[in-house]
């Protein structure tokens, strides 16, 4: 009997990675999942290596990062690969999610895939946020602002905030627990990713046509292995150009100033991948409502598979509205980095409103209005 049929481990690898039946019409939009796995691996490796040199104490953290940049062999590569790797991780995951929106990947029976995916997104956001604070630059103000959101909770909000901080302001206890969580959560992410793929493999991948493709499948290994490799090579090229030629392009110079608890920089903004959330938060003048709005965004993401999120192929109106949704999210990201003026506030409010209308109104209803191409031609 052949080895990969006889040995349990190899047989599992074979059945899920090599001979797994995959629809033969998958396009490059399906590459992003494996690319996300690759970025997670890259972050894990660079992160573990960085942790050998980083010191998690308020008096040494900033200097330890400079030590990594100048003294540690290849430290500059490790640091930039980790920082830009986070940005790339988010780019890949955002495109992956957009694929899910466009092709309706989360519709039944793949609800669990979608839900685990949203959980992964949440864990990624938390991990990236606390990771950004670790160099103890001016991003520590971002930590102060976001953890202060806990005060939105009535009565016990302030005490929860002190509990989160481990003190009365963002200081050494906060940094230490951030470091601990930042090291732990990526392994949780790895486990969640395995769960995500297991959930997918219950029913197999969807395909661009959105119809049942189980009669026309190919083995994953020989065909989509090389295709994924091509995607990996392109991503590696882009990653390398970023890390070696434009390493500070996606960062903010404020983070290169040591943390000063007595003055906040004028243009403090979160990293680019949080700007859309930041815009939603700022567009609602009421603090508690702003926090609720963000919570509502994620709640609606969780609920999407159950309130009908059909795919866009052959559904022309759905495709156009998806385009509007994409433009809306991009506009929100742009607004998140701008100063608050009456114009930007109003735009932010409109964009947030459209986001909710799209997620909770348009997506469920469009399925009823637009059924098939044939019926709309009649």
């Amino acid at each position: 009997m052949r080895l990969h049929n006889k040995v349990q481990l190899f047989s599992v690898i074979n059945s899920h990675l090599i001979s797994y039946p995959t629809p033969m019409n998958l396009n490059y939009s399906w590459n992003w999942g494996s690319l996300a796995g690759l970025m997670l691996a890259s972050q894990l490796v660079t992160g573990i290596l960085l942790a050998m040199h980083y010191v998690g104490h308020v008096d040494y953290a900033f200097a330890s990062v400079q030590h990594i940049m100048t003294d540690v062999p290849s430290g500059i590569i490790l640091r930039y690969a980790h920082a830009n790797g986070a940005s790339l991780f988010f780019i890949v995951v955002y495109v992956h999610i957009l694929r899910g929106f466009y092709y309706g990947s989360g519709t039944q029976p793949r609800e669990l895939v979608w839900i685990t995916g949203v959980i992964i997104l949440l864990v990624m956001i938390i991990t990236a946020f606390i990771g950004y604070v670790l160099p103890w630059g001016m991003s520590f103000w971002g930590a102060t602002v976001i953890t202060s959101l806990a005060t939105a909770i009535p009565v016990v909000g302030k005490h929860i905030m002190y509990w989160l901080w481990g003190g009365f302001s963002v200081d050494n206890p906060t940094l230490n627990r951030f470091y601990s969580f930042h090291y732990t959560l990526p392994f949780v992410l790895a486990g969640l990713s395995v769960f995500h793929i297991a959930a997918l493999h219950q029913y197999g991948s969807t395909n661009p046509l959105g119809v049942n493709a189980q009669s026309s499948t190919l083995a994953f290994g020989p065909y989509f292995g090389p295709k994924d490799l091509l995607g990996v090579l392109f991503l590696a090229l882009f990653f390398s150009v970023l890390v070696f030629f434009y390493p500070d392009l996606l960062g903010h110079p404020d983070n290169l100033i040591p943390a000063n608890p007595y003055s906040t920089p004028q243009h403090i903004v979160p990293e680019w991948y949080f700007l859309w959330v930041y815009a939603i938060l700022r567009s609602i003048p009421n603090k508690a409502m702003g926090v609720l709005a963000i919570a509502l965004v994620f709640a609606s993401l969780f609920a999407l598979p159950f309130i009908r999120m059909g795919g866009g192929k052959f559904f022309i109106l759905t495709e156009k509205l998806f385009g509007a949704f994409l433009a809306d999210v991009l506009l929100l990201s742009w607004l998140g980095g701008k100063e608050i003026t009456p114009v930007t506030s109003f735009m932010g409010l409109c964009c947030t409103a459209f986001l909710f209308i799209y997620l909770l109104g348009i997506l469920p209803l469009i399925g009823y209005f637009e059924t098939t191409v044939q019926s709309s031609n009649k």
Binding site: V45, H67, S74, G75, I77
Partner: protein, 267 residues
């Protein structure tokens, strides 16, 4: 047994009408399939199906694809046991390579080139990762230590920290130097002449770690006017050589040089 005999006699009677209806179909399908097996691969060159032929499906072709006298297996068994690469795709808008021009050499060159690049990338990644664990520039910077000996009085020992380890520097008296030189090499567990252990015999520079299991010996103690290690009782003489006790080697002499009459650089 009897049943088999009955079936055997009945078979020809049953199969005859079947053969009469299926026959022409079977022959047509067989000819299609055998043409695919033996004929040219290029679709353009294959003989076109005569107009009006009713059976063009892949399934019907496969069902009775049987070259004459080739095998006794039923067609479906034969197909499943020896699948052929001759899958009938819809190729009306495809263009195939002419046989022999598929470009395998070029493709293999490209793949091999790629594999060389993957190998270099893997080597680079491993090297960068493994070497990132080696000493950082600041550690290397403190790996050399300059010591000013002008403060060390004759007959006294100072201890300095070098590369995280204690280093004993003893300003020896002439009597001590004489004593060290007179020791017979045969008496020593680790035979070394005193002149080989000190650049300038007036100053003895040794690493203050016992060669037994790593404790720091005490100066001015022991039976040989040198050092005594309290952990397991090793005695070192005034040249730092092991004389008594479990230690196997003399105290290590680090790399050092005199940059001035009273200044040394260790490491």
């Amino acid at each position: 047994m009897a049943l088999r005999r009955v079936v055997a006699t009945l078979m020809p009677k049953i199969s005859q009408p079947v053969a009469e209806t299926v026959g022409p179909v079977a022959n047509h399908a067989a000819s299609c399939y055998s043409q695919m097996l033996a004929g040219p691969l290029d679709f353009v060159e294959r003989p076109q199906q005569p107009a009006g032929s009713t059976f063009r499906s892949f399934a019907s072709d496969a069902v009775t694809a049987l070259k004459e006298e080739e095998t006794k297996l039923t067609p479906t068994n034969r197909i499943s046991m020896s699948p052929t690469p001759y899958i009938k795709y819809d190729e009306h808008h495809h263009k195939r390579f002419a046989p022999g021009t598929e470009g395998r050499p070029f493709a293999y060159f490209v793949q091999t080139g790629g594999r060389f690049l993957y190998a270099s990338a893997a080597r680079l990644a491993v090297l960068k990762i493994v070497l990132s664990l080696s000493a950082a520039a600041d550690t290397m910077a403190v790996s050399s230590l300059e010591v000013d000996l002008s403060g060390v009085e004759e007959g006294s020992t100072i201890t300095v920290k070098w590369r995280g380890k204690p280093v004993f520097i003893r300003h020896r008296t002439d009597a001590e130097i004489q004593e060290s030189a007179e020791v017979a090499l045969s008496e020593l567990r680790d035979a070394q002449k005193d002149v080989d252990r000190a650049v300038n015999p007036k100053y003895l520079v040794v690493v203050g770690i016992c060669t037994h299991l790593g404790c720091v010996p005490i100066a001015g103690a022991g039976n040989y006017h040198g050092w005594f290690c309290p952990c397991h009782g090793s005695h070192y003489d005034i040249s730092g050589r092991i004389r008594e006790g479990p230690a196997p080697y003399n105290l290590e002499v680090p790399e050092y040089r005199f940059v001035d009459e009273k200044k040394i650089v260790i490491g």
